[in-house]
Each structure stands twice: as structure tokens, then as C-alpha cells.
């Protein structure tokens, strides 16, 4: 994908019409592409294409295969608990899917459970929003400036491998409220994938494009805005999606200290009371919310990648 994009970009730069090339550069940033007979993508505007495209976008086949796969998985789980499968992996005391479903449907109408979910969603929202802003800003700076890179990278490399749970005691001590501690632990999870992917994206910006823009009289800010940022966008978007997944990951660690609410707390509490059914309910809800929010991130970042897809 990237190779194709590079080819395309370079062929643009190689073109003799310098002004036209600049126009293309701008188009990359804005994400729109000029119509016209020269545009190879013109057929995309036809009604027929749009219809076919719409149908093609509905991944019926994928949904069917996925549904069958999940059904098989559920059946295997059911079967393993029913016959107390015990060969290296022991299912003897694992709660059956029907039991879990039963518990889930009970919790589904329980206002207390709604509170757990809503509180977690709120924490994810705040932690993730902060991580996105911080992560992209730090990532762009580190990616563009050698000095900043040397100064900031050691921190990233040292703090990144520290697991979220290890932060618990310090997070309590350092932050003024419990909520802030939890949000801090959660945002740490999201922050590093976003930073690193942003850095990676910035580094991937073809130097030729930058030089081309400069030779056309673009100043630093313009180069940054019209060339570097769009070029880094696919990588940033990937970082955003990964970061969302990992922030759920660390949320559970953070919510160990929440003491009252949160889906992570719910699961942790079920563990201390040895309530296996609720543990599985909590795990599955975290999984579902995690994948749902990751999907949402992909959906939101998609428009920013339009230029990239069209060049594919």
C-alpha cells in the first residue's frame, strides 16, 4: 500500500509541471482530488460504481463466517463445560456459556451494572482523549526534531515497558483524586502506541516530498501541515486504534483501585468473591466495549485517510 503510494507520489514529483505537482501536494492534505479527464479515479463518481461499492462495503460474507465461527466457539465452550473437559486444560469449574448468558441478562437490566459500564466509558473517554492529544503532539515533535528525539525518547523507552499495575501505588500518591489516578493509569496504556506510531509515521514521510514542497516555497509550518501530517496519518490512525485497545487493557489495572465503580472493578470484585460467572461477564463486556470503541476510532479516522485509499 505504501509502496504504491510512494510510486504515485514520486511520479508526481517527477512530472515536469511543477505547479501541478504542488497542486497535488495540497490535494493530499485536504483529502480531495480534482475531477477531470486526467484523473484515473473519475469512474468512481458513476452511479453504478457507487452502488456496487456500497454492496461491496457490506461485508456479508465476512459477517456470515464470523457468526459461524463464534457459534462454533460458543458450542465448543458449552461442550467443554458440559462434559467437564479435562485434558491438560481443565474446564471442570469454568462457568458454562448459558450460565454466563444468564448472569449477563440479569446484569443487563441492573442499574448498578449500567453505572459500572458508564463510569468505565467515561474514564476511557477522558484518558483516551488526553492520550490522543499528548501522543500525537509528542510523536510529531519527536519525529521532526532530532534534539527533541534525543531528549524525549529515553523517557518513552523506560516508561513504556512498565506494566499498568505497577503504577498503582505511585498513581495513588501522586494524583489528587482517585479518578485522576485511574485516568492516569489508563492513559499510559494508550499513550505509547500513539506516540510511537506517530513517530514512525513522521519518519516515513518521503524526504523527496518535503524537499519538493520546500523548493516550491513552503515554509516549515506549511511543510508540516501539508506534507508531514498527511503522510503520517495512516500510521497515526493505526496507533490510535491500537491505543484504544490497550487503554481498556490498562483500565482494568486502574480500576483495581477504584473501589466502587467501573467494569474493571466489577471483574476484580468478582474475583475476590470467587464468582467465576461474573468474572466471565466482566471479561466479555470489556472485550466487547474494547472492540466496539476500536471500531469507532477506525470509523472516525477513516475520512482522514481518504487520500491514501484513493491512491491505493
Amino acid at each position: 500500500m505504501r509502496a504504491a503510494y510512494l510510486d504515485k507520489a514520486e511520479s508526481n514529483v517527477d512530472g515536469s509541471d511543477v505547479a501541478g505537482s504542488m497542486g497535488k501536494q495540497k490535494a493530499l492534505g485536504v483529502g480531495s482530488i480534482a475531477d477531470g479527464p486526467l484523473d484515473p479515479m473519475a469512474h468512481r463518481n458513476s452511479v453504478l460504481y457507487k452502488l456496487a461499492h456500497l454492496f461491496g462495503q457490506l461485508p456479508i460474507r465476512a459477517i456470515a463466517v464470523g457468526a459461524i465461527s463464534v457459534t462454533i466457539g460458543l458450542f465448543l465452550w458449552h461442550w467443554a463445560t458440559l462434559y467437564k473437559f479435562n485434558y491438560f486444560v481443565n474446564f471442570e469449574h469454568v462457568p458454562a456459556p448459558l450460565l454466563v448468558g444468564d448472569a449477563f441478562s440479569r446484569h443487563f437490566f441492573d442499574p448498578a451494572f449500567h453505572t459500572h459500564v458508564l463510569v468505565s466509558l467515561r474514564r476511557i473517554f477522558f484518558a483516551y482523549s488526553i492520550a490522543v492529544v499528548l501522543g500525537i503532539v509528542i510523536g510529531l515533535i519527536v519525529g521532526r526534531s532530532r534534539t527533541a528525539r534525543s531528549a524525549i525518547l529515553p523517557y518513552i523507552e523506560i516508561i513504556r515497558p512498565i506494566p499498568a499495575v505497577a503504577w498503582i501505588p505511585l498513581a495513588i500518591l501522586m494524583w489528587p483524586t482517585e479518578e485522576a489516578s485511574i485516568i492516569y493509569i489508563t492513559l499510559l496504556g494508550a499513550l505509547f502506541p500513539i506516540i510511537l506510531n506517530t513517530v514512525h509515521g513522521v519518519e516515513q514521510t518521503p524526504e523527496v516530498l518535503v524537499r519538493a514542497a520546500q523548493s516550491l516555497g513552503a515554509n516549515r509550518a506549511q511543510v508540516f501541515w501539508h506534507v508531514v501530517l498527511p503522510a503520517a496519518m495512516p500510521s497515526i490512525a493505526a496507533g490510535l486504534a491500537i491505543g484504544m485497545g490497550i487503554s481498556w487493557f490498562s483500565l482494568l489495572a486502574g480500576e483495581i483501585i477504584s473501589g466502587q465503580f467501573g467494569i474493571g472493578y466489577f471483574t476484580w470484585h468478582a474475583y475476590s468473591m470467587i464468582n467465576y460467572t461474573d468474572i466471565v461477564v466482566g471479561m466479555l463486556v470489556i472485550g466487547a466495549l474494547g472492540s466496539l470503541s476500536t471500531y469507532l476510532v477506525r470509523l472516525i479516522t477513516r475520512p482522514m485517510l481518504r487520500w491514501n485509499r484513493k491512491l491505493r
Binding site: N90, H93, I168, P169, I172, L173, P176, T177, E178, I256, I257, G259, Q260, Y265, H269, Y271, S272, M273, I274
Partner: protein, 459 residues
Amino acid sequence: MSIYKRLVAALLLSVMAVSVQAETIRIAIGHQSMCTDTYTAGIVVKELKLLEKHLPTTGKYKNAKYDISWSDYSSGGPITNQMMANRLNFGVMGDYPLIVNGANFQKTDSIRTKYIAGTGYNLKGSGNAIVVPVASDIYQLEDLVGREVSVPVGSAAWGMLLKAMQDAEISSSQYVLKNQSPAVGAANIAAGRIDAHADFCPWSELMEFRGTARKIYDGSETGIPYLHGVVVRQDFLDKYPEVAVAFVKAIHEAGEWIREDPMRAVEKMEGWTGVEKEVLYIYFSEGGHLTLEPSIKDKWVDALKFNHGVLAKEMDIAPLDFDEWITEEYLIQAYKELGIDYLKLKESIVDPVEANVGRPMEIWHSRDGISTYETFPEFLSAIASFQDTGAKLNASYVYDKETGLKLFGKTAFFVKNSEGFTTFLRKPEADAYAAKTEGVVMDLNGAIETQRELLASVD
């Protein structure tokens, strides 16, 4: 069949024969090094290798090899989880987690645990306590209305908190209850981030000793006995009942070893667990919170039933058949073999309120160890003179007039009246006593200064 094949077959057979003979018995124990009351079935037995000492080596155990492993956990829940997975066969924990253990096993179709022995107890429920940050303006339970209280939910401290609030007629809507593990709760108290925290031994005293917290309520006021015990998987018991008997003997011996020389014991235990010896001394010394004696008394069963009621109401815990769960079989056998009258032991109960009347105050000199003082003037003068010589004192201990509990001198409230000094755990009682007897409430330093002035005026 070639000679070679015969040889291999013979070799295989002989290997199998040996493995049948030398059966390896895996004894995996889950204990808690941050829960003082479990030490006599946990860390002490482990470190002094008391189980090894009592394990059977005759009869069917003649060629048995023992593979003993100890795993340390911070609460009972994970131990139950490991027992469920059959990675542990012995678990040592407090009363509430014990019930969660028994009830969850009875919920399964096939596996069970048995409650085979206690470790120690406090008749009135000391060991659990509610603390507040030192600088807090909270001095009694009633002050907690509208405040946030954290507690490890599902622990003995949680049961105590619910009972205490109920007794004080504070409904659950009048305060915010948060679930917090001991370490997190202690950190929150140190940072002054929570109004109060309720916890089990040794956390409250640990926080007091480290100077971060002040007790406002002691579990003894609920009057519900606080106990710990040992649960064992039944499949293990059926196969190796003698091992369980050996474990009970080890618990007994661990208790004896501590009673023999509490100072030596707490110093050793500090090395094993990292809990300060001065804190452990509050539990394990003569007049301490803990009576180390493993019998299962009728009163204990009543207390456990009460606890189960709380868990059933608040946490929807499964029913528990106590008759099936609790067994004295192994205790009776162990004490028979030790030549001690179990029934007599079972009937004896130590009540700290009565047992601690007239016990001497203690000062722990960092070099010379513990010295005892019968009267307050002696005790206070001794501290004063130690201060003058610049000697380092580890701790000092006095007793609460109300409950007979051993206290740190530095956290006690002293009342000075015409008759002399009296010490209290809590400020309200000290205030009331001072008002009644025209006395003055002060802290340890105030008491020392008062004593100095008294001496000076005599001179």
C-alpha cells in the same frame, strides 16, 4: 525377543516399581504473610520447617517423598481460586474468606474443602479496626456520617465495618463505602485521600506505628470473635489424613514457639515478612491481640454462621452446610498424639478485658530490649530519662482502660487526674473520663512533660 528388548523391558519395569514405592506427596499451601493471625499455620510453620518435623514416615508413608510448597497471597480469594484449580491443597485465611471458600466449593458437584483447624483468635474481634489519617478531625464512628470509608470488601474487616455501622445506627446511605485492598487503603490513608479505612491485622497497627493513621474504632466493640483457620481439599484429606494431622501439630508447635519467647519470635517474623517487630509485638506478646490456639469452639461456629449471614445478604454467597464443612477429627487426633486434652483446650477462652487487667506497661529499648513498668510514674520517668540520654526507643506499650487492648504509647490518649494517669484507645472515652474525674487529656509527650514537672516540683 532380543536380549536388548528384554533389558529395556526389565529396566522399565524396575523404574515403575520404584515409582510406585516412592510415591511423591505434593503438599501445596497458600498462606498470607501480610495477615498476622495466619502466621502459626503459615510463615512460622514454613520457616521453622515444623510440618516436615511432624509428617508421617511410617506405614504407608514409609517410602513417601514429600514435595512441600508455600505460596504467599495478599488475601484469601486467590488462595481459594488456586485450591479450586487443585494447585493448592491447603489454604490459610481469615473468617470471611474461609466462608467464601467453603460455600464456593459446596457449589461445585464434586469437590469440597474442610475446615480442619483454627490458627488463633481474638474473642471480641480485635485485629480489625477503623483508622483515619493522623491529622483527621474524626474521632468516633458518628463522625463518619457523610464521609468516605474504604475497606477490603469480603474480608473480616468489611464484616466488622458493617456491624459497627449497624450498631451505631448509621445506615448504608449515610456514608460511602469503597472497596479497597489493604495496600491501596494504607496508601490512601497516608496520602490523606480517604476519610477512613477499615482493615484487618496487621494493617491498622502498621499504619499507626508508621505514624500515618489513628484508630477510631477497634473491632472488639462489635463483640464478634475474629478468627482464622485452615481449609483443606477433601480429596487430599481422604488420601492422606495423617498429613492433615501433622499440619495441626505444626500449628500447635508454632504457637508454643511464639509463647515461649515473643521477643525472639517477632524479631524472626520481621525478617520473614517485613512487618515491623514492634507491630507484631502488639499481636504476639503476652497481653497481645491474638490468642494462638487452634481448637474450633462452638462460639467460633456461631460467629462463622453470623458471618455467613452477612455474606449471604450483601454478596449473595451460596449456602454453606457447616456440619459438613467443619471437622474436628484432625484436631482431636493431633492432640491425642500430642498427649493434650483437646476438650479442655476447646473450653478455655481468653478474654483480653479480664486477662490484661494489671499487666505492666512496656518500653522497647532498641539495644536492651523490653523492660516492664508496673506504674505510670515509673513508666513515664523511664521514657523521660531515656530521652535525656538520647537512647533510641523502638516503641512503648500501654493498655486501653475500656477494652484491655494493648496500645502503642505514642497513639494512646493519656488522662491525668488527681489519682494519676490512665490510658485510652480513643479520644471520646478519654474526654468522658477526664470530664468525670476532673482530669486532663494529653498525649504521650504531654504525659512525659507532666511527669517531669511533677518530679521537679518534688525536688
